[in-house]
């Protein structure tokens, strides 16, 4: 097969995104032997070792009354439709032509229904093996199979003899030992029919897999997987489902209840009772899905990681820049909103004599998560600026002569998805309604998400510096987590009315008490502006200073919030026109 490449070192593995499963899932990595219970019976390969003929290896070793004349490799079928005969490997073209003729000439004799043809002799490269013992009794089928197994890929001559008619002449055929799997792809030779390799096993391999557990199994098979994304369900740019709570929860591949909502059982013992029983596996093995990239696949397979890049690119670098500027404003705004919401929540120390036993833990969770998400948005703000800087440096936006860091928060949250009408920029305490807004903002395929998908696919274009695409992809992947976090928070806080909130009110911009905090915020913005002005690592000094000041600001905002004052951070920006709701 053409154009096969295999990643060798770590950077190659990280960079090359192989669609499908790893080579470790291929047949040649399987745990095959000739005893039941494993993945396939490799004796079945040798049934078709010789193109055009199918043998059965008959053993009498375990028979109570062995019939010696039934032992050996019995010809089961002449398969003149064998693909290897019709389209042989080039080096065996001549042999195949002669073999087709020989099979046709002997077709009647070999095909006679009463005839019992057995393999009597094999010759390869000048060595002949007679498949009878010294006393003339036939060798057992398993012994013959081992001898056949030892053949190399190359020319082979067989002698077939009838056991039911000693007087009948023997037939010699020249052919070659078949190559069972494609050398480069590992695909099984087309002459084998579905089920043929496992037909002699007493049970499906899933029996043993279930009993051994994944950790014991020697080759890669699915155990804990993501369920299939139904066809009618949307996909996020990075390839996950837009219903993450349904489809991004891992489930047991062997689960008996095949409904998506089936709760994954935790722990070995619990998992066992939720899995299909051996009997059930026999009945329903076809319900066990094929798994690619960790996800069960139903009817269609599309490499997930490529989908991110399939969004419609922006037409020009200038258009991309303008959308990135808009995204930077949004990242900035939501970072401030999440921060403000965080300071509106009581600290665990402020919870006293609570009737609600978990309130302390829950406010801790909410504050921690909000801070995490705010920091993540700040990081995105930096990355967007980095992308913008990279675009500027690459000099691909015509007429763009001066790079200005994007540090003005957006005046509005645009309508998209669950945000049905534009929402003016505002700082709100973490009420249930605010939380709804946050969920809507971070909603998969919402405004931010959708814009980044397009930015990502645009950045794949060859004129863009490659690392900008990586940065944009990182933001998209991050964003999908935010949505889940806010949903979790909703669940947790739904148990309360407002007892987790501080009595917080937004102070007037000219309130002297908030002036120092506003000053710190302004200083941070200046430092960030100086830092973003230089996108390379020489910006380290300014960014470090900004980071240090963020700790100062954190303390100031916290102290003020504890005394009921919210800092109007958005007041630093002159009111921008806001479209009416």
């Amino acid at each position: 097969m053409k154009n096969k490449i295999i990643a060798r070192n770590l950077t190659a593995r990280a960079e090359y995104d192989v669609p499908g499963n790893s080579p470790a899932t291929r047949l040649e990595s399987g745990v095959g032997n000739c005893y039941p219970g494993l993945e396939y019976d490799h004796r079945n390969f040798d049934r078709r070792f010789f193109p055009g003929l199918v043998f059965e290896y008959v053993s009498q070793d375990d028979a109570q009354t062995p019939q010696l004349t039934r032992r050996g490799a019995r010809l089961a079928l002449v398969d003149s439709a064998d693909t290897a005969l019709q389209a042989p490997p080039p080096e065996f073209a001549d042999v195949a032509r002669a073999l087709r003729q020989a099979l046709s000439d002997n077709g009647e004799a070999l095909g006679a229904s009463s005839a019992q043809w057995f393999l009597d002799e094999i010759e390869q490269a000048g060595t002949s093996v007679i498949l009878r013992g010294d006393d003339g009794t036939p060798l057992d089928g398993l012994v013959v199979w081992r001898l056949v197994r030892s053949l190399r890929i190359g020319k082979v001559t067989l002698k077939l003899k009838r056991r039911d008619d000693a007087a009948a002449r023997s037939i010699s055929l020249s052919g070659w030992r078949r190559r069972f799997t494609d050398e480069t792809t590992g695909v099984i030779d087309a002459s084998f029919v579905p089920g043929e390799l496992t037909q002699s096993l007493c049970s499906p391999w899933m029996h043993d897999f279930r009993d051994c557990g994944c950790t014991y199994w020697a080759s890669n098979h699915p155990d804990i997987v993501f369920p299939e994304i139904p066809l009618d369900q949307g996909l996020l740019p990075a390839g996950s489902s837009d219903q993450p709570l349904q489809t991004d929860v891992r489930v047991d591949w062997l689960r008996s209840d095949r409904e998506l909502g089936a709760t994954p059982a935790v722990g070995r013992r619990a998992a066992r009772s939720a899995q299909m029983s051996h009997f059930e596996i026999n009945q329903r093995w076809q319900d066990l899905d094929i798994v690619l990239e960790g996800r069960e696949i139903g009817d269609f397979y599309l490499p997930r990681s490529r989908q991110l890049d399939n969004a419609r690119p922006y037409a020009t670098p200038a258009e991309l820049r303008d959308h990135l500027l808009e995204l930077a404003g949004l990242e900035h705004l939501v970072a401030l909103m999440y921060l403000y919401a965080r300071y509106s929540v009581r600290t665990p120390a402020e919870i006293t004599n609570s009737q609600r036993p978990f309130l302390t833990e829950d406010v801790d969770f909410a504050r921690h998560t909000l801070l995490q998400l705010a920091i993540s948005e700040m990081q995105h703000l930096r990355w967007v600026n980095q992308i913008l800087w990279g675009l500027f440096e690459a000099e691909i936006v015509p007429g763009w002569t001066k790079f200005e860091p994007a540090l003005t928060p957006s005046p509005v949250i645009p309508a998209a998805g669950d945000v049905t009408a534009p929402v003016p920029a505002q700082l709100l305490p973490l009420t249930a309604r605010t939380l709804e807004l946050f969920v809507a903002i971070e909603q998969p395929s919402g405004f931010i998400d959708g814009r980044y998908a397009r930015a990502t696919s645009t950045l794949l274009g060859s004129q863009y510096p490659r690392q900008l695409h990586e940065l944009a992809s990182a933001i998209v992947r991050d964003g999908e987590q935010h949505y889940l976090h806010f949903r979790d928070m909703q669940t947790v806080l739904s148990a309360y009315s407002a007892e987790y909130l501080r009595p917080l009110a937004l102070a007037a911009p000219d309130d002297l008490a908030v002036a120092p905090a506003l000053g710190t915020y302004k200083k941070i913005l200046d430092e960030l502006a100086a830092g973003y002005q230089r996108g390379d690592v020489s910006n380290m000094k300014d960014l470090s200073a900004a980071r240090a000041d963020m700790f100062v600001l954190d303390e100031q905002l916290e102290t003020l919030a504890a005394s009921g004052k919210g800092v109007p951070l958005l007041s630093l920006f002159p009111a921008a026109p806001v479209s009416p709701p």
């Binding site: 097969m1 154009n3 490449i5 060798r8 950077t11 380290m540 470090s544």
Partner: protein
Amino acid sequence: MTALLRLPLYGAARAQPSPGTSSVPWFHLIPGEHPLVLLIQGSQLFEVDAELAAGLSVADDPATDTLRSLVALGPRKSSGPVPVSALSLNVAQSCNLACDYCYADEGRFAGAPRQMEQTVALAAIDRLFAEARSPRVTLGFIGGEPLVNRALVHRCVEHAARRARQTGIGVGFSITTNGTLVRPEDISMFREHEFTVTVSIDGDAAVHDRHRSRRGGGSSHDRVISALEPLLASAGRARVVARATVTRDDLRVSERVEALLGLGFAEAGVSPTRTGPRPELWLQSHDWWPFFESMKLAAEIDLNRVRSGAGERLRFSNLANALDSIHRGSARSLPCGAGRSYVSLGADGGYFTCHRTIDQRTFALGDVASGIDADKRASFLAARDVDGQEPCRTCWARYLCGGGCHAEVATAGRQGCDYIRAWLEFCLKTYDALLRERPELFWQPGGVS
């Protein structure tokens, strides 16, 4: 010498730019039973099928486009400055030996012998911790012979360990020593603080003493061995490695490496002489091929040790380090961390780009009082990015090699590039083969070595 003719250096079918054109290759094909393709920018290594390899060996074949469609090029590595995470202290610019090939003018760097003041050393350590942005820093002691100033080494280790506890930034220690002055209290310190102890030792006594004599003559080999014996016998948590200098009067490598491993060093590596006070010891252009053969032989011996099960790790450092770099896909636009993440402090308190450029004005980066000069660092690095160097700019091996030691390039130019390419190609093939035979070697903590 007939071996030269068998070198698999430039096959007829090689994607090399023709001289005089500006085309810069983006991949390098290594033909063989398992043809390999190295994507130059990100040092990604792929095996390709024979058909694709055949196409890639022909200029302008569509196979090149096919390859491009199958892979993503790694990001171009920045060569700009990063916060310093490694510092070496030239605690003593003097030495008790008088090795005739020494690049450091027997430790004095063309000045008077002198020692570093404690205030200078401690201030530099404080600065290292204050400006570090990494979870771990490295503090090295060099010279001259650092143990000439033993008391300061011990004081610095104590100080740095305290700073590490205070800041939560981890610290690793290293020392490069001739080994002759090592005392039991040093050994205790090496073990306790998990030092990497690099001993300059050239091989067995006969080889070693030819160039590494004591001041006033006499064997230094015996001294090294007797001083290091307890450490070699039981290194504890220290890692004791040997570095041999190869001079052109004796290009053997495996003999040196095997002798050193036999003495109990965990690892042994070699460096060819390219500069120094005695030009007759520098490797000349026709020396590189026999040297390459020596390197290969040493590598084969080491590989056989691992293959036969006699060793669990590679111990020939040049090979082990190269294979580790290839495995990680190291792609660098500079040869080392000098001036970028690493600086060296001279005895007088001046920063320099590395321990080899002490007291050279062109490599100076400010002093410990006013700090490392950011502009000088930036311009030093910008001037040395391998993509701006000739003939590196169009060489396939540029991101594996990085353009060669700054200090050596400054005095001797770029020598032995064909050797470096041959060695790297050998290592790439060896990596591929070893990954097939013993993949677990690459997944053990610490890599192959």
